[in-house]
Structures are given as C-alpha cells and as structure tokens.
Amino acid sequence: MILNLVNWLDDRFGWRAIWEAIFLRKIPHVNWFYTLGSATLFLAILQGVTGILLTLYYVPTPDHAYDSVVYISTQLPAGWFIRGLHHWGASAMVVVTVAHLLRVFLYGAYKYPREATWITGVFLFLIVIGFGFTGYLLPWDQKAYWATTVGTQIAGVAPVVGDWMLRIARGGDELSAVTLARFFGTHIWVLPASLATLVFVHLYLVIRIGITAVPSREEE
C-alpha cells in the first residue's frame, strides 16, 4: 500500500534517480578530511534554521535591536540555546570552511576538471566572510558597534574607491540606523540567496564530476 504510493510518487517526481545520483554515486577510497565539505553544508543549514528562528524576535533598529537580543537570550525558552547555536555555529562555519578550502588546495583537488568547482567555492568562502561581517553588527552592543566602525574604516583606506566603499557600507558618513538595516538585509536576504544559489552549483559540479582520490606518489 505504502510502497504503491511511493512508486506512484516516484513515477511523477523521479526522486529515486536523484537520490541515487547524490548518495549512491561511486567515490574513490578517501579519508576523513573529505567530510569537511559536508560538515560545512551541515553548518550552513544549521545557521539557516537558527537564523530564521532568530528573525522571529530580532528587530534591526538601533533603539530595540539590543533589547530584542537580550529578550531572546534571557526571556524566551531555549532562546539562549538557539542564539548560542547561531553564535558558535558562525565561528565554526568559518573554521570548517577554511579547513575544507585547505584540504582541496593541499590535495590539488582544484585542478582540471574541477576549476569551476574551486571558483564557486572561493566565492562561497567570501560569502561566508560576508555573513560573519554583517552578522557581527546585529546585536548592536559595544563590541558590534566598534567592530563595524573599525571594519568599515578599513575598507575606507583602500586607494581611490575607499571612501566610496565606506559610505556605501555605512549608508552614509557614520554608523546609523541605515547601517544596521542594510547589514541586516544583507545578512538575511542577499547573502543567503547568493549562498543557496552557489551551493547548488557547487554541489552539482561535485556530483557531476565526482571527487578526487587522495593524491599518491605512485603512478596509478
């Protein structure tokens, strides 16, 4: 009965072929370092879930942002847990992404025919850094405020375009309600949309081309 339904659905969705392509593909005999990409994906999903939950209560305005964060951490059941996951998950995300990048680099896995996978990966890395930079401001506490003051100031010292970039990032001369709102919008819309799109391409390439074997001295 249930099997009939599953088959009926598969006739229409064809999910079995997709499942097999993703999870039952042939891979070379590899080591644990090859799980770093999956770990990054897992963390990205975790950040997405906890981030969505945080937006249920967080408000990106200077007069209430900090209060809403305190409310999440101290008043809500498991609020400290959800925010804690997002906070530590963010750091873990950067660490694991860099580890994944290093593994690919040191194993020479970026070479033909995987250059496109590598390039999308580099952009994904930049997006992860962007998440970290924009997310850091959102609690709107002293650390957030001054870190973003310094961070945008650093962009400001770039030759020729520096001042222009600083003003674009801050939405004006100095940190304000405009800065907080655009960092929030970037953090929850622009970057997630870019990340999702590029992850899709990245995974498509991983599955289409297959993963590299561990490099070895001997000719194979």
């Binding site: 939950l53 209560y57 059941p77 959800i82």
Partner: protein, 160 residues
C-alpha cells in the same frame, strides 16, 4: 545489499540505521527547543491586577460612564503604555457594573452613544444595550464584565 544472510543486519543497513538515528537525535535536539522558543511568548499569562479607575462619584446614575486609564505593559522587549477603558454602570450608586469596551464579535472598540441609548461597534454594526446585552448585529454574547471593588470611594477593576 547483503541478501545472503537472511535476518542478519548487513553492514549497509547498519550504517543506514546509525545515520537515521543520529539525524533523528540532531533533529530533535534542535526541533524541540525550537518549538518551545516559538510558542514560549504565547504561553505567558497576564497576571491579575487591580487597576485603579477613579472616584465612584463620577459614575452617573443609569448611564454607562467611561473611565480611561493608562497602564504600563511589558510586551516582548518593549515597555509600552497602553490605554485601558472601562464603562461603568450603576442603577443604585452602590453596586457597580464594569464592562469592557471590546466588542465580543471580533474585538473592535464599542462606543456609548447617549442619543441612541446603546453601545455601537463601528466594525460590523454590533449594538449593545446599556447593561451590555446584545441588541442587534453579530456579537455572540454580552459585553464582558470585570470584577470590581470600591475602596474609600475609589473604583478598582481586576484585569486578568
């Protein structure tokens, strides 16, 4: 698939079971707190409190009299002031009926119109008599009443 050993779990099935179990644990570890986190504010009950309306001498005989007061309210991360209005009716200057000004249909605010001797709701034309009973329109029940008390000539209602 290992079909040679009937009844014994193969390596692949074992791994599948382990992965499913770990996924379940992770899902529960995030899903259950998430449910508590989402429904949390909905479970908070407002505490009962007596609200001071004002002197009973202001209540006119046989005419619903409006008392307005401002109460402090903590909603989420905002401390807001909220206007709280009550209609008070007395027929003998000793017993007071305190009625909510919230329409029992869908929660709009009703207003006492002296000329027409009734409470009128602007949203769907609900009409209540001076004692709060429904005269016409969609309201399913009379206006809600608050528990009230008089102390030293001051009228209080209990909000819960």
């Amino acid at each position: 698939m290992d079909k040679s050993q009937e009844g014994k779990m193969g390596r692949r099935d074992f791994m599948k079971a382990v992965i499913a179990a770990i996924s379940g644990v992770i899902g529960a570890a995030i899903g259950l707190p998430a449910i508590a986190y989402v429904v949390g504010p909905a479970l908070q009950k407002e505490t009962d409190e007596w609200i001071r309306l004002g002197s009973v001498s202001k209540v006119e005989m046989n005419i619903p009299t409006l008392f307005k007061t401002v109460i402090e309210k903590q909603t989420g991360w905002i401390n807001a002031e909220e206007e709280f209005s009550v209609y008070v009716l007395t027929t003998n200057s000793r017993d007071f009926v305190a009625m909510s000004n919230i329409c029992t249909h869908l929660g709009c605010k009703v207003r006492w119109i002296p000329d027409q001797d009734g409470f009128f709701c602007p949203c769907h034309n609900g009409v209540f008599a001076k004692d709060g009973s429904v005269v016409s329109g969609p309201p399913p029940r009379p206006l809600d009443r608050f528990e009230s008390k008089v102390e030293d000539g001051i009228l209080f209602v209990k909000r819960g």
